[in-house]
Symmetry: C2
Subunit: 315 residues, 2 copies
DNA sequence: TTCAATAGTTGACATCAGCAACTAATTGTC
DNA sequence: GACAATTAGTTGCTGATGTCAACTATTGAA
């Protein structure tokens, strides 16, 4: 006999609320939210969630995790301490000396990969026996819901680290965009393809990274940080989808690169860009990068001014 | 850098798993599964869930709750004890003396109504600002997902107590079914309508009840138990949708009536049915009902044999 | 320079949750 | 009909989980 408390001029809303609540009961049970041991691991649901935030956001501040997961800071501090004890994480120093940015160790990376694989398999088991079209429809429905409910909230986008399939997607989207806007053609696509392929081939965990901004499965932007040498990191391939501009995604991605580079122990970050990409230039400048040199080139068919920027990290 | 552990010949599956896991993170956070205080109430998520199971399943055994929610029996026993201490529930005796069926008190009913209203409003707030068509689509999507994921599981149906809108739905479905199968016409609809209307008008919480079997928002069957007098309850309007027959829904609904009647202190249950409804007859007999009398009638246009059955509960 | 605010940690404590041992009743087996 | 095995439910014990307030170190703003 469940009853609505308030008069409601919108009957569809009442139906939706009923559906959502039913779904809620179903889903919490189904997904093991009521089971304190997440996916049969030795981690609790909260711990697994925090581990995920670290792995996907490194370097990440306790504050950021606390906000993302919604957990008590003291409690979080202890969980992080436990991770450190297990040798999963290392803590660095940020530009602000109060901050203790968290990074994964090699051991932590392995532990996360194992958890991640188990979670993947467990989730896949849920879908076992569903006909193919239903599987596809389900993933679309789920994305759609997260998109809708997320947009009613303030959550405009999420940032995560790269996974299988991202490189191709990044290459395609960037090539298309540069073609549409600047007409830089297939030579640009070849260049981007080489960079992403090289990234995959030579990826050094903990020293290099690629971040993807997305919303409900749609890629909204990305950036790369790769090792130039032991002391110098290079920021590459920053891009934001036109539909997602003005949300601060570009600045967010660049800030992550800088924080990562600092935590990883680089002394400086360099990057190479074009004068025509004015909004990117603004972001670099705001983050503290300094224009070092500029030169004319017509590598992409049209005459362009290419620029070198640098940010010194070491004290 | 999340990666699949296993080679997968089905790429759509990997996409779906990724979507589901993203959704999982989003949803647990959004729905407060990580927050031990449910919807700002003094109850934890688990307690709220148990309270719901009691309110919707009364009389319910601890065992049934334990299975539905997936919680440790000892822990559950203590939570139930706490509810009893607050005066929310009373515990009866079942046919099996080991069982301690749980029923709500008037106070408990009020407390649940308050919680339910708050939950409704909270959930409605989630949907605030969503355009109307999105709200409708969302509820459809959510039902669809629960249906798909549920059917991959063994969960064929759920049983809940009645809420606003159920009476009309029950009346319509039963009338249509009896018309289609037996041709009993609008006179039957009028009769059913009178019964459901009277139920609404005179509903005695704790003494009377209506149960709805459903799956993902689709009504699969229902049954009523109403007070004939202090000692005698009457079972009415048992029906199961043709598509859902063979799942044991009918037997389940009747068993709930009997358990409820016993817990509510009735001495016997009577019911009136037609000889032609053979599967219903079997259920009544299996539950211990005894055929008392039969007589010919042609109330519904065609000549029929109507029957009176009785089940003695008192020792 | 001083004071409020912020990132993070720690101690004390209450509640949550799992496990195993227990009672009481029932069912199955010979 | 006796007796072992099973079942519903409870209780004691314990470690894990989570909360709150006080604390340090640092930063930013007046």
């Amino acid at each position: 006999m469940t009853q609505a408390a308030t008069l409601d001029p919108n009957p569809a809303l009442a139906t939706a609320v009923t559906s959502l609540r039913r779904f809620n009961r179903f889903y919490t049970r189904r997904m093991g939210a009521l089971d304190p041991h997440y996916m049969g691991s030795e981690l609790s649901l909260v711990e697994a969630r925090i581990f995920y935030e670290i792995a996907v956001g490194e370097p990440v501040l306790a504050k950021a995790i606390q906000e993302a997961v919604g957990v008590d800071p003291g409690y979080l501090s202890r969980i992080i301490g436990k991770f450190a004890q297990r040798g999963w994480i290392a803590r660095g120093r940020g530009a602000d000396a109060r901050e203790r940015p968290i990074m994964l160790t090699g051991e932590g990376r392995a532990a996360f990969a194992a958890l991640d694989a188990r979670t993947f398999d467990e989730t896949a088991r849920l879908l076992d026996g569903l006909p193919g079209p239903d599987v596809a429809a389900l993933s679309a429905a789920v994305d759609w819901i997260a998109d809708r409910l997320g947009s009613a909230d303030g959550q405009a986008y999420q940032v995560r680290t790269w996974t299988v399939g991202d490189m191709g997607m990044v290459t395609a989207r960037q090539a298309i965009l540069y073609q549409q806007v600047y007409g830089w053609g297939t030579r640009m696509e070849a260049l981007i393809g080489e960079i992403t392929t090289a990234f995959l081939r030579d990826f050094q965990p903990g020293r290099e990274q690629c971040w993807i901004a997305e919303r409900a499965g749609r890629m909204l932007g990305s950036v790369f940080l790769v090792a130039e040498d032991d002391r110098v990191a290079r920021l590459r391939l920053l891009y934001v989808e036109p539909e997602a501009r003005g949300l601060g995604i570009g600045a967010d991605l660049v800030a992550r690169c800088v924080a990562f580079a600092r935590a990883a122990g680089y002394r400086e970050i360099i990057l190479w860009t074009h004068a025509v990409l004015t909004s990117a230039r603004k972001i670099y400048a705001a983050e503290g990068f300094v224009l070092e040199s500029a030169e004319k080139s017509d590598e992409f068919g049209t005459p362009e001014v290419s620029e070198s920027w640098r940010l010194i990290l070491a004290d």
